[in-house]
Amino acid sequence: MNLIHWVLIAVVLVYIGLRLIPGKGWKIAPAYLRVILLLAAAFLTLTPFVWLICSAFKSKDALMLYTFLPDWNHLRNFPADATHPESYKAIVHWFGNDGLPAVDGALGTLTLANFRRLLTDQFLTPHGPVYFWEYIVNSLFLSCGVTSINIFLSSMAGYALAKYRFKGRNIIVFIMLGSMMFPAMLFLAPLFEMVSKFGWMDSYLALMVPSAITVFGIFLFRQAMVGVPTSLLESARVDGASEFRIYWEITLPLVRPVTAAYCLITFLGTWNAFLQPQLFIQSQSKLTLPVVLNRYIGMYVQDYGIFLAGTLLAIIPPAILFFVLQKEFVAGLTSGATKG
């Protein structure tokens, strides 16, 4: 029996109690149960994040010893603490004697050492040292670049499908739908050969050009732009606006929510992409975060804290973007599925 079991028992007892309330019980009890279940789901979902944040600030020796934050009492007396001989043995077992803290209580301090090492350790290459922040800059540059190009090109194609009638339109829609059925992995080997033929190996062109436009994006923009009143566009046309200006200055601003949603989707996709950068980029100074974290985790098995600090840093930019755009994102994500 531990704390969690008592909490569960209390929850069940409260439910039974609510159920027994005469008259209103059948209405209150399910509402209570609903909140409890949602809280449980949220708790299970968020626990790994809380753990990640705690772990990034723990020293190498404390990482495995404490699930979340170091235990205060345990810490102050460590390693002389006789009540936790098992933990002590565990440290010796996993890290050897060298891993033992030199000063009493050193284990307990929350530390920025992981971040310090992550950001100051350099990877030596013939062309000079490469620092971790360069990977962050690379990932940011690539994600922002792909996102803006992709929004521009996909929305243009979506606009053509939404607001013009022309011969061959149905054929193009058919080709687009057909192309969505093929898994991206099918294109990996031919793309690799094409990239080497084009001389794009080790260049961001190899990552940006093949993801410059997506059919998913085209349909998302088409869906939104169909709703823009044609009379509005027509009056601009009468006033002498060019076709491009009608698209750029009138239609695109009107579909802002979908643009925001698609912006997040594309940013996340590029930020988290692994295979293409892994295959097409060789220079250390051009690598992106997922490739770096994956490539070196095997080498620093004893220093997971550094990787967890790196992962934490890698999650922050998409998280910020998500919090800024979350309302539009949810609407945009589901618009294609419910309306289409």
Binding site: L38, A41, L268
Partner: protein, 307 residues
Amino acid sequence: MSANIQKSKGGPDRHPVAPWMFLAPYLLYAAVFFAYPLLYAAWLSFHQTDGPTSVFVGFQGEYDNFMFIFTDPRFYKALLNTTIYAIASICIQLPIALGLAMLLNNSNSRMKGAFRLMIFSPNLVGQIFVGVMFAVIFTPFDGLFNKGLQTLIGWGIDKQWLQDPNLLLPGLIIISLWMYVGYNMIYFLAGLQSVDKQLLEAAQIDGANGWQTFLHITLPQIKPIAIFVVIMSTIGSYQLFDLPWALMKGQGFGPGDSALTIVGYLYDWGFRNGEHGAASAIGWILAAIIFVISILQLKLTRAYEVD
């Protein structure tokens, strides 16, 4: 639609060049990065490509890519792993996602927003980053998951999720549950919000209980979105690669290939052994598998509709 086009001939939505100018980037893109690689992949799949020049091997001979793949036990291992993963994703993840969506659908809007945000949040983290996290979370005795499991049900502190060939796939399924349940929940939630409220009330007045209402009113109405979610999750599951690759620290596919997926097999052949021909052949097989399964799911669900 054709009648519509006739009527609006010369109308405001007609322009001789503008639509083609707007579509030009896509057309160029589709030609270079869709049509060409698609044919190229077909061409490659009939060639042996690890030598200095590509050699046509076709469907016969000892270097036939397809024959090689179909007689390779590793391919069947990969297919089995991926299929188990896909079935588990659908059978475990989607009911939970639907359940959570129904819980949220009945909540007030402020609570709905907050919980939706929280439960969706793992989806922001890429599979590689999740893999790095869970490589530590699954540590025997000391990892968060092992400790949590021990606290909750008194079992599992010593389980070697990443070293035991029988536990690696369940481990992957647990991680993907954490990652994607919120994503599918959002789709179900959108579907539930479009369910006709009057029908639900009518059923309640007629004395239908919660389960009957769900089975006969809610479920048929969210069927289109449910089919969409099932197919999307199948397609996604069959393309699993990053997560097991990161979980195994980029050094293979686990003990006894227990985390080998079809895309992992493709990667192994194409980019660790340099056989782009074999990789393209596997790519085509993967495309065929996904195509057949999607069609089957559509047919099966339509058969259910006729009943």
